[in-house]
């Protein structure tokens, strides 16, 4: 396949059958629509291009593309804007997935995070983020191209022209009996449902949203969905909730057993589809087909999964870590009070290692000391002692706790004279001992 530019690679994604041994349904053929294979990595590529294409081709010099998005739409728009030499700015309530934030910055996007709720209520301040953004755009007097994904019909059309017809074509011209999709802007589910119903009036459409108070990146909660302009409850025969656990369970099944590198919403769609279909499977008298959407890929969600399932990332305990010290080792840690330490330092050629942050070290420290921040120090120790056994060491931290732990650890590692400043640099300061700033 040869293309003139990457946007031509958007769409025409595969429809892949899920092995019945995995989903366990007797009378349903379950297919995954692999939107993760779009060139920018998600279902949002289609909507982003369909909405932004006309805006970008008409862009005047100095225009900026803007959207309220903290995820895949922003990613696709950033790439599209970059291709057209137009800056892109994403405005978000809360950018909660660190990998996506980093990626957007890498792609050259500007990110504005909106403020949190006020602690002392201002009852007149009732504008939603979208309204506030509209106001900012209006106040700026132009120069902004706003794709407006939550209200823009072109978001729906992208799927009514692309995703929906592709599914029908791949099922030999027939619509599936069941269609399951997660709802973010409702663009994909609304557009696909529209096409499927034209072919098969009885197709059952299940929309999936997150449970209240839960968070699944890319989709809305059962409350938030009512704030979406494109959302029309009549599109869905059922609106069901899934939670982060469902999403991760489904993700693990698809990733580990089906070779499909799905993100959480694809996992949630699989889990939600199987749960829904299981309730009707036994009562079915003929074979049925069901389709769900795999919206994007897993790689951006490693920290999201790690926060919720740390055990999946279990690593063996590390050698020489302060966490492995016993109470007896800690109690035996060699320490020196401020007066003794001052004397000892003049008597020996001890090296003073300050474990505080570089910024604090530069502001004020013990003359002649060197700075190895504790996190870095902890990284060095598994590989062995970072200084000679022949040179005594005085470890310094704010209150003398961390330094005591590390002096115990260095002692265990065979250092003959590693001591900790008792009471830390705060005690040193309070005793009136000299601190310098270089």
């Amino acid at each position: 396949m040869r293309y003139d530019d990457i946007t031509e690679a958007i769409g025409a994604t595969p429809l892949v059958r899920i092995d019945p041994a995995v989903h366990g349904l007797a009378n349903v053929d379950l297919y995954a629509k692999l939107e993760l294979l779009n060139p920018f990595g998600s279902v949002k590529d289609r909507a982003a291009w369909h909405m932004a294409g006309p805006l970008l081709s008409g862009a005047a010099p100095g225009d900026t593309l803007v959207e309220l998005s903290s995820g895949n739409t922003a990613k696709a728009l950033a790439l599209l804007a970059g291709m057209h030499g137009v800056p892109f700015k994403s405005v978000t309530n809360r950018m909660k997935v660190p990998e996506i934030k980093e990626l957007l910055l890498l792609l050259g996007a500007e990110i504005d995070e909106l403020p949190g709720q006020s602690e002392c209520l201002d009852p007149t301040d009732t504008d939603d983020p979208l309204t506030r953004m509209h106001q900012r755009l209006a106040a700026s007097g132009g120069g902004y191209l706003h794709t407006d994904q939550y209200f823009n019909e072109r978001n729906v059309d992208a799927h009514a022209y692309g995703t929906g017809p592709e599914i029908v074509k791949d099922l030999d011209g027939r619509a599936p009996d069941y269609f399951v999709a997660c709802v973010g802007t409702a663009g994909s589910s609304t557009g696909v449902a529209r096409v499927l119903r034209q072919h098969h009036a009885d197709v059952e459409v299940v929309g999936l949203v997150a449970a209240k108070g839960d968070f699944i990146p890319g989709i809305r909660t059962i409350d938030e969905v009512h704030e979406v302009g494109l959302f029309d409850p009549a599109v869905y025969d059922a609106l069901e909730t899934i939670d982060a656990d469902d999403a991760i369970d489904g993700l693990l099944t698809l990733v580990r057993r089906c070779g499909i590198l799905t993100g959480p919403t694809g996992g949630g769609a699989f889990q939600g589809a199987v749960r829904f279909l299981r309730t009707i499977d036994a009562g079915l008298t003929s074979r049925k087909t069901a389709v769900f959407i795999v919206c994007d890929r897993v790689e951006s969600y490693l920290s999201y999964v790690r926060d919720r399932r740390p055990e999946l990332f279990g690593r063996p305990p590390r050698r020489n870590s302060a966490g492995t010290l016993t109470g007896a080792e800690l109690a035996a840690a060699p320490v020196l009070g401020v007066g003794d330490a001052q004397r000892w330092l003049t008597e020996t050629n001890a090296v003073v290692v300050d474990l505080r942050s570089p910024y604090a070290f530069q502001a004020l420290h013990i003359a002649g000391s060197i700075n190895i921040v504790d996190e870095v120090f902890a990284e060095l120790l598994p590989a062995g002692l970072p200084f000679s056994r022949r040179r005594p060491v005085l470890l310094v931290c704010p209150v003398g706790e961390k330094s005591a732990r590390y002096s115990a650890l260095l002692t265990r590692m065979g250092h003959p004279d590693a001591r900790s400043l008792h009471g830390g640099i705060i005690a040193w300061r309070d005793a009136g001992a000299e601190l310098v700033r270089d």
Partner: protein, 476 residues
């Protein structure tokens, strides 16, 4: 029943259970009546101190006096080791009179010359909002030949790199980028002004904004040091929040149902279909919920703990560790959070007719609605007999104004109140008690009494009669 059950601790509950005591007080002193519980403060102070301890941090806890006018609460704190944040000349006089020595007082907020003079004369720390205010203060100190005054510089408008964290504009504080102008003034008046540190207070529940501000203040302190000054503290203001509701599920359910009601998909659940900031546009919910997040599992000292554990946006190290590394004191100014479970407002039921319950207090006497905090009052029946319930009611105030509703929410009570019954609005000490009380229409402003338990029963005195000089007489 769409209840919003308030969180009530055991001491407050024991007071609520003492029906006879409360009824007698109300008979004697009239409706409405404010009750403050000074002895409850200790637990809240201890919780904050525990967070300090966990992070190995030192520094002062200044009670934000604006949250409540009570003298009893102030004097109780004066007897302990906390400080006080005063925001007016009257509050400063009140604090000095309650026994706070000047080294335990910080003056914040808008200040007139008299406020600045008394602050300078007594030597309290002045948290300065602008270069002009700093220069005015220096002028007062020089003109009246006063000793050097400790000052802290309140900053605002911090900038972040990478992801731009936006914050509502504040009318207080100097933009962080204009710190050099403040330092110029300080350098010009070394005999009048002594820098103690920098400060911020942000009116937001958002941790990311506070993280940006705290890190920005650390940079500002470093800039002070680079100019040869010796700052020692960082004051991060108040805004730690309170968890008002017992059950998060009730809050989730109520807010979901409100959205449905605004969209017309269920019957109204507020007076006149009020949407608390939500509105329907073509079947889509617009606006935001202009309500305090009444269920806040992470609030007060736990919120401070969370903030101190938050990685600095740029340096990546937890903020608490950075403060400790720098050997700075952490000062805080909690108002609301320090008064958690420290008071209630009592009112008499005048009539109960259908869904209309009329009370002998008005919306200014218990300003829950104004502050967007929704929680149910507790019914204290006058007689012990059983009555019908539950009941969906509207609570009307005693002002001859259409808008005088204690809350625009339809309130679900476990029993239908009768005339003469009492309603208790609990956990109202922080901002909702007398913050906006008025004598409009010559309606009385509530009296305030201080209540404590000793010798196995509740005792009370007028707020102004309370002094923390009790012999150790707690019940065993």
């Amino acid at each position: 029943m769409l209840s919003l059950t308030p969180r009530i601790d055991t001491n407050l509950q024991s007071l609520l259970d003492d029906h006879e005591f409360l009824a007698e007080l109300l008979d004697a002193l009239g409706s409405p009546l404010n009750l403050v519980l000074p002895r409850q403060l200790a637990a809240n102070v201890a919780a904050f101190r525990e967070t300090y301890r966990r992070h190995r941090l030192g520094g002062r806890l200044y009670y934000a006096h604006k949250a409540n006018r009570s003298g009893a609460l102030l004097r109780e704190l004066a007897a302990g080791d906390t400080g006080v944040d005063v925001a007016s000349l009257g509050e400063l006089q009140h604090a000095l009179g309650a026994g706070f020595t000047p080294d335990r007082i910080v003056a914040t907020g808008p200040k007139n010359r008299e406020f600045l003079w008394l602050a300078a004369r007594t030597g309290v720390t002045v948290s300065v909002d602008s270069a002009d205010e700093l220069a005015e203060l220096a002028g007062i100190v020089a003109g009246h030949r006063l000793p050097r005054v400790p000052v802290s510089l309140r900053l605002a408008g911090f900038t972040s790199t990478g992801v731009r964290v936006l914050t509502r504009r504040s009318r207080f504080g100097t933009p962080a980028g204009r710190l050099p102008e403040l330092l110029d003034v300080l350098e010009k008046h070394p005999d009048q002004l002594e820098l103690t540190g920098v400060a911020y207070h942000l009116d937001t529940v958002g941790l990311p904004e506070k993280a940006v501000a705290l890190e920005g203040c650390l940079a500002a302190l470093d800039a002070c040091r680079a100019r040869g000054l010796r700052p020692r503290s960082l004051d991060i203001g108040g805004g730690f929040g309170v968890n008002y509701l017992a059950d998060g599920a009730e809050w989730d359910r109520w807010t979901t149902e409100l959205g449905q009601a605004v969209l017309g998909r269920r019957p109204r659940m507020t007076w006149d279909g009020h949407g608390y900031g939500l509105r329907a546009e073509n079947g889509t919910l617009r606006g935001t919920l202009a309500l305090y997040p009444a269920h806040r599992p992470v609030s007060g000292a736990a919120y401070l703990d969370r903030l101190l554990g938050t990685p600095a946006p740029e340096l990546g190290r937890p903020l608490g560790e950075l403060l400790l590394d720098h050997m700075y004191d952490l000062d805080i100014e909690p108002g609301r959070a320090l008064l958690d479970q420290c008071g209630l407002v009592l009112a008499r039921v005048l009539s109960a007719d259908g869904d209309a319950v009329r009370l002998d207090l008005n919306a200014r006497d218990v300003s829950l609605e104004e502050h967007g905090v929704l929680m149910d009052p507790v019914v204290i029946p006058r007689t012990g007999d059983r009555r019908a319930g539950p009941a969906a009611v509207h609570l009307f105030g005693n002002l001859c104004l259409e808008a005088d509703l204690i809350t625009r929410r339809t309130v679900f009570l476990p029993v239908l109140p009768r005339p003469g019954d009492l309603l208790a609005f609990v956990n109202t000490a922080g901002y909702f008690m007398d913050f906006s009380a008025t004598t409009a229409l010559r309606q009385p402003v509530a009296r305030t009494v201080a209540v404590h338990r000793s010798g196995g029963r509740h005792r009370w005195c007028l707020d102004e009669q309370y002094w923390p000089v009790h012999p150790r007489q707690e019940t065993r």
